[in-house]
């Protein structure tokens, strides 16, 4: 109980170290979700609306990528960004940017796969109408993404959940450097191994509360939008 009390005190006292970690975690995860959405939503929509040889295989691979092991992604990005790697000269290894890249790689397939399914289902519903209205391919994509926007919030939430909970990839490419690349999940892992359970529990509480708040906000946006747009 005393450990939990200390954790609560840390949260309630607005501990600067704790909130710096929270801030960085949110910045990294939300940046990764935004980047992954910019890649995943159009890619998923394109896959939903095009027919080509090997499409089924691409869908199977994309769905499989949703379960990419974070440590493997971390290792791949590490090799890419390490000094001897192809992108080594960018000097991004052990920076928050490297962590954003790793999480983007993890999250983009989730958003793309869920977008593909959502858009494909909506296309089945809209195909006859849009074809009859002589709507061109670009406007079709725009229409489907716009009309599926409230369902796509769920895809973004799934991506955010993956990013916020992830530790394996960012600890490899970020290095868990205090005050620079330490996030909630990497700090929880470190503090637990050090035996500093109050900070670990405090961070755990904050992480869960943040995830609930973001989900509640997204749910609210979805419900409000559906009320007005149908």
């Amino acid at each position: 109980m005393s450990g939990n009390d200390s954790a609560l005190q840390l949260v309630l006292s607005g501990d600067p170290a704790l909130f710096a970690i929270v801030r960085l975690s949110l910045l990294v995860s939300l940046s990764a979700v935004v980047l992954a959405a910019l890649i995943g939503v159009p890619a998923g929509a394109l896959l939903a609306l095009t027919r080509f040889r090997g499409r089924e295989a691409v869908i199977v691979i994309l769905n499989a990528l949703m379960g990419l092991p974070p440590v493997v992604v971390g290792l791949a990005v590490f090799l890419l960004l390490s000094r001897s790697g192809p992108l080594g000269e960018w000097g991004l290894l052990f920076t928050p940017q490297a962590m954003v890249i790793a999480q983007t790689v993890l999250v983009a397939p989730i958003i793309a796969a869920l977008t593909r399914q959502t858009i494909e289902d909506l296309w089945v519903e809209y195909q006859a109408e849009l074809t009859a209205m002589n709507v061109g391919p670009l406007r079709r994509v725009r229409t489907l993404i716009w009309d599926a926007r409230f369902s796509l919030v769920t895809a973004l939430l799934a991506g955010f959940g993956r990013a916020a909970a992830e530790v394996g990839a960012i600890i490899i490419v970020g290095g868990n450097i205090d005050g620079f690349t330490r996030t909630m999940t990497t700090a929880i892992a470190l503090e637990t191994s050090k035996g500093d359970l109050p900070l670990a529990v405090g961070l755990g509480i904050v992480l869960i509360v943040i995830v609930i708040i973001i989900n509640a906000l997204a749910w609210g946006i979805r419900r409000t939008g559906e009320r007005y747009a149908g």
Partner: protein
């Protein structure tokens, strides 16, 4: 509402058209001319091929064999044609948003869309429902909205697939009144229905289909007074054509 000039895509000619889906023959050797004039009403039992014929005339289903021409052209941009499906999909927007979308797709400049959409909604009796989410409208209101969306294309030919299926008499009358008004403006209406009473009320000529084949294509008064074929006699008598 003013009269419009004869539609650019008329006549639509079906020349020995056959459409299949796998082993199933949906339309079998259809030869038919759809000319300007009062509504052409397609009737026939389920599976007769009415919807497929309507979609083929719209240009949505290519013939497996035979030829379809629009005003003599084998391929024609469906700019002057519009269709209302039996179960129209409502776009996830307001009622007005649905109509404005159709206007945008038809190429109307943004500045004119609001005014035109309001006029179209008023034409179909949905004035005041502009901001209501389309999916929250009743079945009858959705049918009328789909009609407004089709009319947004300012079509010369309007195809209606069972426009009043499962609607109550009041909603049916509202749709029929719109069809009459549109037809009176010079728009060619081609529709299919199961409702013989509706065919009597609206049709200029009747096309009876059975098992994908064209059984009769005659003026409505003649069709109901002195049907030429046994199938037509049985259909009008209310017997089940199987």
């Amino acid at each position: 509402m003013s009269m419009r000039p004869p539609a650019l895509d008329l006549p639509i000619m079906f020349i020995d058209v056959r459409i299949t889906a796998g082993a199933l023959t949906i339309l079998d050797g259809i030869t038919l001319t759809i000319s300007p004039g009062p509504p052409t009403v397609l009737i026939g039992p389920n599976g007769a091929g009415k919807t497929t014929l309507l979609r083929a005339a719209m240009g949505l289903v290519p013939p497996g064999s035979g030829l379809i021409t629009w005003s003599g052209r084998e391929s024609s941009d469906p700019k002057h044609r519009a269709i209302m499906f039996q179960r129209p999909a409502m776009l996830r927007r307001s009622a007005g948003g649905n109509v404005r979308y159709a206007l945008a797709a038809a190429g109307m400049p943004r500045g004119k869309r609001h005014e035109r959409a309001a006029a179209l909604l008023a034409d179909v009796g949905l004035a005041g429902l502009d901001r209501r989410p389309a999916r929250r409208l009743s079945g009858g209101e959705q049918q009328r909205l789909a009609l407004a969306r089709a009319l947004a294309r300012d079509p010369g030919i309007l195809f209606l697939d069972e426009p009043t299926a499962s609607l109550d008499p009041a909603a049916t009358k509202a749709i029929e009144d719109i069809v009459r008004a549109v037809s009176a403006r010079g728009v060619k209406v081609m529709m299919c229905t199961h409702d013989l009473g509706q065919a009597k009320r609206l049709a200029g000529n009747v096309v009876l289909l059975h098992r994908g084949r064209l059984i009769e294509n005659t003026p409505a008064s003649e069709f109901f007074a002195s049907p030429r074929t046994e199938e037509a006699c049985r259909f009008i008598a209310g017997e089940l054509l199987v």
